[in-house]
């Protein structure tokens, strides 16, 4: 039992942090700076991080572990990276599980409430939405088949920004078409993929929380009222301290979930991921709201970065089901709620 990051993982974290700090939006108007966004996108492209879950030379193994993918997810979210990452990463993982070397679709589609992976024709194709769709022309969906699921792609409409200012959504433009050469996915494959996806979203939420805590802390160190910085007031200190604690607890669960995604059985990995998603979805809401409160009036303006964190946090919570759905899953595992069907 040694759950420290390896030296290579620590180095990856440093690299991801440096890249994100240099190229991610430093303030809200940077979100409109297309030149900067293009540089960030190019840097993430050349890092190869979006391909981390494509197959390695060794059959059945991805290029990098869930932990490494989570490290990148956390650092990109912490700096509010407005470029795609989880979409292509998870599309790649699904493709790998279907025996593919690569796939054209660069994200995946969910039911319109974002709570479930889209399964056509069960879910109405017109009602499905692709997430993290910046730059994606097509997305993966599942089609139930005799022994499991088949991979399909749908073409996307141009992406639009909704809640989350850093990652757009896209509607579906065409009927699904089969993915050439893809093997059937088993129920276990989909469960394992979902566990990984939830772990990555939990890591994203940890990053959001860490970024929001830092934003609040930095503001509390400079804003003066009553002749002193507001960070010296206990009422403010306690808010930020609580937020830091929530992020730490979330990280402990998210790290385990990311590890579990590769090592435990699909069911166990899913349970680990649901624990992480429940805790981090609930915590992220409080932490981001705290960041707004600490900023006072400025926190309620468009210019303040606090709402950008809140929006990203809300969105990552919604994807594949937030605190409520995850808690229901945990209760079902303990025999305290009806079958967990559809809760995946």
């Amino acid at each position: 039992m040694d759950v420290r990051l390896s030296p290579e993982q620590v180095a990856l974290k440093e690299t991801a942090r440096k890249l994100a700090q240099t190229l991610c939006p430093g303030n809200v108007s940077d979100l409109d700076d297309t030149e900067r966004a293009a540089k960030l996108d190019a840097a993430v492209t050349s890092s190869g991080w979006r391909q981390l879950r494509l197959p390695d030379d060794e059959p059945g193994t991805p290029l990098a572990s869930g932990v490494e993918a989570a490290i990148v997810a956390e650092e990109l979210a912490r700096a509010l990276a407005d470029t795609s990452y989880l979409g292509p990463l998870l599309a790649g993982d699904l493709a790998r599980r279907a025996g593919l070397e690569d796939v054209d679709a660069t994200t995946f589609a969910l039911t319109s409430d974002l709570a479930h992976l889209a399964r056509v024709p069960t879910s109405d194709a017109a009602e499905t939405v692709a997430v993290d769709a910046g730059g994606s022309a097509s997305a993966l969906v599942l089609e139930p088949s005799r022994n499991g699921y088949e991979l399909r792609t749908v073409e996307l409409r141009p992406s639009v920004i909704r809640t989350d200012l850093t990652r757009p959504l896209a509607g579906v433009a065409t009927a699904p078409v089969p993915v050439e050469g893809a093997a059937e996915l088993s129920e276990d494959d989909v469960t394992a993929w979902t566990a990984l996806a939830l772990a990555m979203l939990s890591a994203d939420l940890v990053g959001v929380m860490r970024g929001a805590v830092e934003l609040a802390r930095d503001y509390a160190l400079v804003r003066e009222q009553y002749g002193t910085t507001i960070g010296s007031f206990q009422a403010v200190q306690h808010l930020i301290a609580e937020a830091h604690v929530a992020a730490e607890g979330s990280y402990s669960l998210a790290l385990h979930a990311a590890w579990a995604a590769d090592v435990l059985t699909p069911r166990e990995a899913l349970l680990a991921a649901r624990h992480a998603k429940a805790f981090s979805s609930r915590a992220a809401l409080t932490v981001c709201e705290t960041a707004i409160q600490v900023h006072g009036g400025i926190g309620n303006t468009w210019e303040c970065m606090a709402h950008v964190y809140l929006r990203r946090g809300l969105h990552s919570s919604d994807i594949l089901g937030g605190a409520g759905a995850s808690l229901a899953f945990v209760l079902a595992q303990h025999g305290l709620k009806g079958g967990d069907d559809g809760l995946r």
Partner: protein, 376 residues
């Protein structure tokens, strides 16, 4: 990175499991029964004699010198077997290890570690709780001894203790943090009076108050240098704040498992809101289990403790109180009229945000020492 057991860890775990199958004393939860406290000393010695106590402490003081992650395995297996947690004396051990000279270490640590001698922690006073540095208990040199006068309160295990680690002022003129020294003081001497205090849940063996009226401590039993008492106290309380030092995490795991079982048996009595409370307790317990693994793994780098203990303490407090709120429901659905153990557990949980530094003090420490905010 690996959450699983190494071969050596797996071997340790299975040996422990076999031992527990034979040696589980089947005591009730620590927080709800005087019977637990009465049985704690033999349980400590049984664990030690079998090689399961102080496993991460140095061999020179009776430990086994294994990495702290073995404590995780111990706690997990104790919880899984429904056995009581390991007695929590680790923070005293750490304080003495770090601050005392060799002779004091050798005189006292083997007894504490093996459970042959019981110790209590005489820091808090009626007028010095959070602001511990204003303590008034004094120790005045008299030949080879110090003479101690003062009043300590909320002293855990004072009724069973052979020794008390007493903080007392040895220099009345020094600044408040500088004039304090620490002593090992025998409890069974004429100048020491101990009176149990009854906790809000009715337990009388958890803590008491202690008065020192001309009690004597040998000068050679001073722990650390004169005036080093404050630093020692900070080492002790910072260790006290880390869930890894305590068996508490396993206590929550045991309780929440029982609560889930009760709810399954009587589903109809539980509203959606009750289930949510229980669900969050289940999630919180799992969080703490993994958090402890993470924090104890960090110690493989040789980092022993620091302000992060305050984060652990706040998380531990939140989880205990979450589990306890779920227990409140169980107390209503399954009134166990003679004992009402779930109600007692709930009432006991209010102490977690007070002892070892209150929740507010932990937040102060996190804000200033971890997040770098200015002192208030």
């Amino acid at each position: 990175m690996d959450y699983g057991d190494s071969p050596a860890e797996a071997q340790f775990r299975s040996g422990l499991r076999a031992w527990l199958a034979e040696n589980n004393p089947g005591l009730p939860a620590s927080s709800t029964s005087d019977e637990y406290w009465a049985g704690q000393a033999p349980w400590h010695r049984a664990l030690y004699d079998a090689g399961y106590f102080g496993i991460s402490w140095p061999e020179s003081v009776g430990g086994r010198g294994l990495p702290s992650v073995y404590d995780v395995i111990l706690d997990e297996e104790l919880a899984a077997a429904g056995a009581p947690p390991r007695p929590s004396v680790g923070y005293l051990v750490q304080g003495i290890l770090r601050h005392a000279g060799d002779d004091v270490r050798q005189r006292f640590l083997p007894g504490i570690v093996s459970g042959r001698e019981r110790w209590c922690q005489g820091f808090s006073e009626p007028d010095a709780g959070s602001d511990l540095a204003v303590l008034r208990t004094r120790a005045d040199r008299d030949g080879d001894d110090y003479v101690i006068n003062g009043h300590k309160v909320w002293t855990s295990y004072s009724d069973q203790a052979d020794w008390c680690l007493v903080l007392a002022r040895t220099d009345q003129d020094a600044p408040k943090h500088k004039g304090i020294s620490a002593f090992a003081v025998r409890m069974d001497q004429p100048g020491v009076q101990q009176r149990p205090l009854r906790m809000i849940n009715g337990i009388t063996r958890e803590f008491g108050e202690v008065t020192f009226d001309g009690a004597r401590a040998r000068a050679v039993d001073m722990v650390g240098e004169p005036g080093e008492g404050w630093r020692l106290a900070m080492t002790v309380v910072s260790h006290e704040r880390e869930p890894g030092e305590l068996g508490f995490v396993s206590r929550y795991a045991k309780a929440v498992k029982e609560l889930a079982q009760l709810a399954r048996e009587d589903r109809a009595a539980y509203t959606e809101e009750d289930l949510h409370t229980l669900g969050w307790a289940l999630v919180g317990t799992e969080m703490l289990r993994l958090h402890v693994r993470r924090r104890l793994s960090d110690r493989l780098d040789g980092i022993t403790h620091g302000p992060e203990g305050s984060v652990d303490k706040v998380l531990m407090t939140q989880v205990e109180q979450q589990v306890a709120h779920a227990a409140l429901k169980a107390s209503r659905v399954h009134p166990d009229h003679e004992e009402d153990t779930w109600m007692k557990m709930y009432l006991y949980s209010r102490a977690q945000s007070v002892m070892g530094g209150t929740a507010q003090i932990q937040r102060n420490l996190i804000a200033t020492r971890i997040l770098g905010l200015p002192p208030s």
